[in-house]
């Protein structure tokens, strides 16, 4: 395997760097680095998305026909890595990396025309209606019900009743993609599930905020009381929802290129540690080395996957679960290093979010203020998108049956 970049790759990298130099303003970088939650705040991510949209770079993974870049996987890898190194905000994956690919694969031409352009422009903000109070890892037990009804105007639609949980950014979203039960009597419970698009401004929807232990408000519980969903907002066939959901989950778990971000975050922490002389502590120096080597291994795995996809080969069934598992564990390892680095300063707690929108109330500089919040927030990484236990089970099923 040769992982050295070609001259053409280097030229592309210079182009990306020039763009970042011009458009990634210091306040965006500051806001991004002060972030404590999974996704950048919508105002920050939105500004960055508009800048990228102006250049046609919002959706590196999309086909050109839908407004993608037409980049090779290696170019995508370079782009993501350079953005991470420069400290760019992350765009919400809920539309671009999750429901977007689903619509391209399963959506009607009308759905694609209607939903993809505003997704690219950042005019639509999406959220995901999967988990429910009684349905976490056992997602297929979901109970939110969609009934077909004849409306007063003579059209047919679904009426949705039930509740969704852990809905990230539901309070910012104007659209939701959701799994609902359209046939409670299906012999196999998986066959009674459909995939629908819900307009969050419809009457009957209420959003209850959930504050997480990191102090962030990013997740919510969403309630549906007789909410109208037109039939044409169902994606795929009735009862095909589970197959679509699994397709989407593979993107959620394996679709990111995350090594560059891990390396960038770890590099920033190391800079702080060196400035403070903290690495004179040999235990901490060893812990940094462990994390750096782990990032090396993760990045090399991502590159192997990238290189094999490039050559038209399948990376294998284990890979998306493996990447989700290791990425989430590494986020936790690195954020724990951040807390170690703080030493006694880990006592201080910022109560307001987002940090970039509030003046410091604790005696810490910007490099240190988000570290405890980031550590606490990272506890969720091994839970969302399929817990680490579910990922291990997926890998074990391939090996052991």
């Amino acid at each position: 395997m040769s992982l050295a970049l070609t001259d053409a790759d280097r030229g592309f990298r210079d182009e990306v760097r020039a763009f970042l130099q011009e458009h990634l303003t210091p306040d965006l970088v500051r806001a991004s680095r002060l972030g404590t939650s999974v996704f950048s705040e919508p105002d920050i991510a939105g500004r960055w998305q508009r800048a990228l949209h102006g250049r046609g770079w919002v959706a590196p993974a999309w086909p050109v026909a839908f407004g993608g870049t037409g980049w090779t996987l290696v170019q995508r890898w370079i782009f993501e890595t350079e953005c991470a190194r420069a400290g760019a905000p992350s765009l919400s994956p809920l539309g671009l990396r999750m429901v977007g690919p689903v619509l391209m694969r399963f959506g009607t031409p009308e759905q694609q025309r209607r939903y993809l352009p505003p997704m690219l422009a950042g005019d639509d903000r999406w959220c995901q209606g999967y988990s429910e109070p009684g349905s976490g890892s056992d997602l297929a037990s979901l109970a939110t019900r969609a009934r077909r009804v004849r409306e007063a105007d003579g059209t047919e639609s679904y009426r949705v009743d039930g509740t969704k949980l852990w809905t990230t950014h539901a309070h910012h979203a104007n659209r939701m993609f959701a799994l609902v039960r359209t046939d409670p009597d299906a012999p196999r419970r998986h066959d009674g599930i459909s995939f629908v698009l819900i307009d969050m401004t419809e009457p009957g929807i209420s959003v209850r905020p959930i504050r997480s232990l990191s102090g962030d408000h990013e997740v919510n519980q969403v309630f549906f009381d007789d909410v109208r969903v037109p039939l044409h907002d169902r994606v795929g066939d009735e009862g095909q929802g589970w197959a679509i959901a699994r397709y989407l989950l593979e993107f959620e778990r394996g679709g990111a290129i995350a090594g560059g971000r891990l390396r960038a975050v770890l590099g920033s922490l190391r800079a702080v540690a060196v400035r403070d002389g903290a690495l004179d502590d040999p235990d901490l120096a060893l812990a940094f080395s462990v994390a750096e080597i782990d990032v090396d291994a993760f990045e090399a795995t991502e590159l192997r996957v990238t290189a094999s996809l490039e050559a038209g080969r399948n990376p294998g069934p284990v890979v998306s679960s493996l990447l989700k598992l290791r990425w989430s564990e590494l986020e936790q390892t690195i954020s724990r290093l951040g807390v170690r680095l703080l030493g006694p300063d880990a006592l201080a707690w910022e109560q307001e979010r987002p940090l970039y929108g509030h003046p410091a109330t604790v005696p810490l500089d910007d490099a240190r203020r988000p570290l405890v919040g980031q550590y606490l927030n990272a506890r969720a990484y091994t839970i969302f998108g399929g817990t680490s236990e579910i990922q291990r089970e997926i890998i074990a099923r391939v090996l052991l049956g």
């Binding site: 395997m1 040769s2 992982l3 050295a4 970049l5 070609t6 790759d9 290696v74 890595t81 390396r263 770890l266 590099g267 920033s268 190391r270 800079a271 540690a273 060196v274 400035r275 690495l279 040999p282 120096a285 060893l286 940094f288 080395s289 462990v290 750096e292 080597i293 782990d294 990032v295 090396d296 291994a297 993760f298 990045e299 090399a300 795995t301 590159l303 192997r304 290189a307 094999s308 490039e310 050559a311 284990v318 890979v319 493996l322 598992l325 290791r326 236990e389 990922q391 291990r392 089970e393 890998i395 074990a396 090996l399 052991l400 049956g401």
Partner: protein, 387 residues
């Protein structure tokens, strides 16, 4: 960036040989067969009767050896001793040793490690003094892997009274004053100790200009090959464990039905994939570092890889034994041989914990240098897979 070139042919034939042919051969027979397949010539320059291939190809072979495991001294002979002769040897020394090594007729292994010493010691108690036109060499080498069956040793001594510079000698077996004490090794191979008492060596046996960095470079390449070997071992252990859990029935169901065991197998598989990735990245990083003459980047990549791969391989072997239950601790089941081989590799090249410390110390040196240059410390190169 280019995709992994296909070593598929080489890989398949190597794996086939290890699985099908090697088991029926004794040690010398295996060595002859490896020579016949061209493996002992793989990284030697074509001018010296070699095949001129790189570390990547050597690692394909090492990975196959790991599946056996085949414990013949491929690393010490091919990647260390022969490579050092190819790098620093005079024409006569090359002609004397390299074709013979490539053809499997002679074995030369490095003799560096001393009692109480470690893997990359910079002061050696073995000392060499000029005596007229000859050299007089005295000292003890205790850990000489493959030394029992060697036809010669690349003995590394400290030069003169302070011993700060290394000096290397190609010492043929039978040289007067060299006492060889062979012993068996934990992995079923052999090694020896060497006692040198005022051994008189002609100027023609000295490798000119041998540096610590030459020795480190050879050792780092052998270290990465040890990682590749460990990946082959982990693959084999994973497959054996999967087979065992699927067939062994307890409490009326296969062991594979138990989630506590399933998740441990998943972790084994993850460790296997990550170790493979990291080894491939280290191979690439070493090639880049050598081209850039950057010994720190080379050492970081090699020690970083071994720190993780060595640890994962040892854990995989321990886990495989545990998951095989009582059968795991028998000689008959053969999972234990992979653990013994990891112990041997750790003893030969330094355990993962030692390499983690080397990595941390080198990174700190990079930080200091970056700060001295007025750069932010984090900009110091992390040994990434991509430059």
């Amino acid at each position: 960036m280019t995709a992994e070139p296909d070593h598929q042919l080489l890989r398949d034939s190597a794996l086939r040989w290890v699985a099908a042919s090697a088991p029926s051969l004794d040690g010398p027979g295996r060595w002859r067969a490896m020579a016949g397949l061209g493996w002992l010539a793989i990284t030697l320059p074509e001018a010296d009767g070699g095949l001129g291939q790189g570390l990547a190809e050597a690692c394909v072979l090492a990975e196959a050896l790991g599946t056996g495991p085949i414990v013949e001294p491929f690393g010490p002979v091919v990647l260390q001793a022969a490579a050092l002769v190819a790098r620093r040897g005079a024409a006569g020394q090359r002609a004397r040793w390299l074709p013979a090594i490539a053809e499997g007729r002679q074995r030369l292994v490095p003799a560096v490690i001393e009692p109480g010493g470690h893997w990359r010691a910079r002061t050696l108690r073995t000392r060499a003094h000029l005596d007229g036109a000859d050299w007089l060499v005295s000292g003890t080498k205790r850990v000489v892997p493959g030394g029992d069956a060697a036809d010669g040793w690349l003995v590394v001594a400290g030069l003169g009274d302070d011993g700060a510079a290394p000096v290397g000698f190609l010492v043929p077996r039978g040289t007067p004053g060299v006492v060889v004490t062979p012993y068996a090794t934990v992995d079923g191979a052999g090694a020896c100790a060497l006692e040198l008492q005022q051994v008189r060596l002609g100027a023609g046996t000295r490798l000119a200009d041998l540096s610590w960095d030459d020795l480190d470079q050879a050792a780092d390449r052998a270290l990465v090959a040890a990682c590749a070997e460990s990946v082959g071992a982990m693959d084999t252990l994973l497959r054996a464990t999967v087979d065992w859990l699927r067939t062994r029935v307890q409490f009326g169901r296969p062991l594979a039905a138990n989630q506590a065991l399933r998740h441990r197998v998943a972790d084994l598989s993850v460790a296997c994939e990550e170790s493979r990735s990291l080894t491939l990245a280290a191979v690439a990083a070493l090639e880049i570092a050598d081209r850039a003459a950057d010994p720190v980047a080379r050492a970081l990549a090699a020690s970083g890889a071994r720190a993780k791969v060595g640890l994962q391989a040892r854990r995989a072997a321990e886990e495989a034994i545990q998951l095989h239950g009582g059968m795991g601790v028998t000689e008959e089941m053969r999972v234990g041989v992979y653990l013994k081989r990891q112990l041997a590799l750790d003893a030969m090249y330094g355990p993962p914990e030692w390499h983690l410390r080397r990595h941390a110390q080198l990174r700190q040196r990079q930080d200091v240098a970056a700060v001295a240059r007025g750069e932010p410390a984090a900009a110091a190169a992390v040994p990434g897979a991509v430059r």
